[in-house]
Symmetry: C2
Subunit: 404 residues, 2 copies
Amino acid sequence: MLIVKKFGGSSVADKERIFNVANRCVEEYKKGNEVIVVLSAMGDTTDDLIAKAKEINPEATKRELDMLLTTGEQISVSLMAMALNALGVPAVSLNAFQVQMHSTSRYGNARFKRIDSERIQHELDAKKIVVVTGFQGVNKYEDYTTLGRGGSDTTAVAIAAALHADSCEIYTDVEGVYTADPRVVPNARKIQEISYDEMLELASLGARVLHNRSVEMAKKYGVQLIVRSSLNREEGTLVKEVVKMEKLLVSGVAADRNTARISAIGVEDRPGVAFRIFNTLAKNNINVDIILQSVGRDGTKDISFTVAEDDVKEAIAVLEKNKDALTIREIKHKDDVAKLSVVGAGMMSNPGVAAKMFEALFNAGVNINMISTSEIRITVLVDEIDMDRAMVAVHDGFGLGEGL
Amino acid sequence: MLIVKKFGGSSVADKERIFNVANRCVEEYKKGNEVIVVLSAMGDTTDDLIAKAKEINPEATKRELDMLLTTGEQISVSLMAMALNALGVPAVSLNAFQVQMHSTSRYGNARFKRIDSERIQHELDAKKIVVVTGFQGVNKYEDYTTLGRGGSDTTAVAIAAALHADSCEIYTDVEGVYTADPRVVPNARKIQEISYDEMLELASLGARVLHNRSVEMAKKYGVQLIVRSSLNREEGTLVKEVVKMEKLLVSGVAADRNTARISAIGVEDRPGVAFRIFNTLAKNNINVDIILQSVGRDGTKDISFTVAEDDVKEAIAVLEKNKDALTIREIKHKDDVAKLSVVGAGMMSNPGVAAKMFEALFNAGVNINMISTSEIRITVLVDEIDMDRAMVAVHDGFGLGEGL
């Protein structure tokens, strides 16, 4: 079996934790498996490097920032190879140049184009544990690029895809994917198996265990993902294409507080106006999430939508600037809202799910601002103050805490 | 003019010093020159990284150590590029993979084989100051290698040679090459010009301003070297092929305390014995410096030689092991000795130099243990306790402190 294991920065923050990871890898290796380890930068290294850069030049280019930040993972992987050697196992560390991890040219937020398998395969054939830098690629200019948030997860999946690994294990500080955030919902339950699509919905809805780009890639190349804890031996959550049939309607509940509602009031009620509003926002790189359009009255209508809180200021500025062209009479916004979603492959063929969710929210006295649905997801916008209560109510409403 | 500037780790140890270096580079750039900057790792970075490695694995392989250490220069160059940008000048940092600095495969002590000029030239053509990592290369396995002690000097010279630079400036914490160590000889004088050969002799004799490998390379490719201070604007010392004719007999005096004498007593006095002794040492990678062979008596002779102090133990062990085969009766050694050398192209055609040196030492009451000479150098072995006094005496004897 060829197994890719990814560990985040906190899992390699000091000598003791480095050896904890090394021991787990050696254990796997001694069972006769081939092991590739993908690592992030140790502990706060990345933040420290960013602080150093800001001290020198607060407007440092992303190109030079990437050149600086990629040293972080290189330090992790060389120390890990030394630790594995100290445990008597042959190992080699490799960076993005050595593997040839080709990325798009965009500094600070690149995507992988192609990962060469030759060097890694060569080292595996020499019976070594191969330790690879996460988070980084090399673009067509032969410059380092970083992959943005969650980048090391994507590195692990991309390498697993390129080398046709049997499984890709993402180690985190939680035991797997949960039916809801256990800090909010005490009887939240670890999910044993979940499909790529459900995981994608959960990941993009604020369940932070996996970055959605890594899930997309795993789905595309059929990489079997396992999310599990680096601190214990619990089994974790398996993410794959087809999951067990005895599934519940709903797999999990996710919440996202980083959301705000903007309303364009008194927009002319004629074709093309909504298109122009969202086209203008898209051109300015503002992602719009839920959209609600009121029924027209007196020749005008109201259009509301949600954006990430970080984008509120810019979205309003863009709309204000084009207020006349877009026939907007007034722009309003509300920041103290949150999104609550239920996700589940089972709801596709089951029309009662939405009703059940609304009932649970009604019983808990939670007001629903907006609603949005996909084939396997229902999202509602609620007041931020109601969020935790809403989450517990919905989690209980679907009986998620009771186990299979 | 294309100018290569090399700054050591202490010159980029903190924000203030980074900007000091950046300002000097910008000054040069604004005069219309093309500028390449070669940097070592900041301050104690390399030592800190080695300490980290030792903590994980005291027997860390050189391959992984090099992978770890090369991050140090990458941090320096990216921060320097940011500083240059902050001063309004376009700049780009490059590592050994990006430049393609090809080295021999020996980890920890590699040599350059070839430096590609293409990427650097491309960036110079784009009017950028190019900031390059010193001390590192990439071997045929596509692995990082480091160049060993003084490696960044060699990087600067190699790049100057590859790009046909007009001059290569090595910045240090002293103002240039001196006629003797100013800490020992108060009236030591800065040398204005010195030939490659003289510099080579001085460098290999313990004058630590330039590493001899970098001088060898400068001589081979005719790179004009300037040794000067990063702290002030003094002119420094020019190292080149032909120097001014009004030269003194002797350019400088150098001392090396890291030396010990070993004597093989009672060796059989027949052909081939000395060869076998030194061949045995060479096979064990022990460099022998001065050799003195006594006149044979009673069919035996004594052979004495000097080695670096670090090699004494091994040299003795090697000789003890082969004592019988090498016909050695007894092995003695003396650690508290030092080498004192005078170097000067002028002595080639001037037979009185040795006599003058011995006279100065005699007048100072310094006993000479051994003598060794080259065309432009005379070295004597003295008791370590006499060293400073001997240095002052010889420096005065040749009138080196008086200026041109």
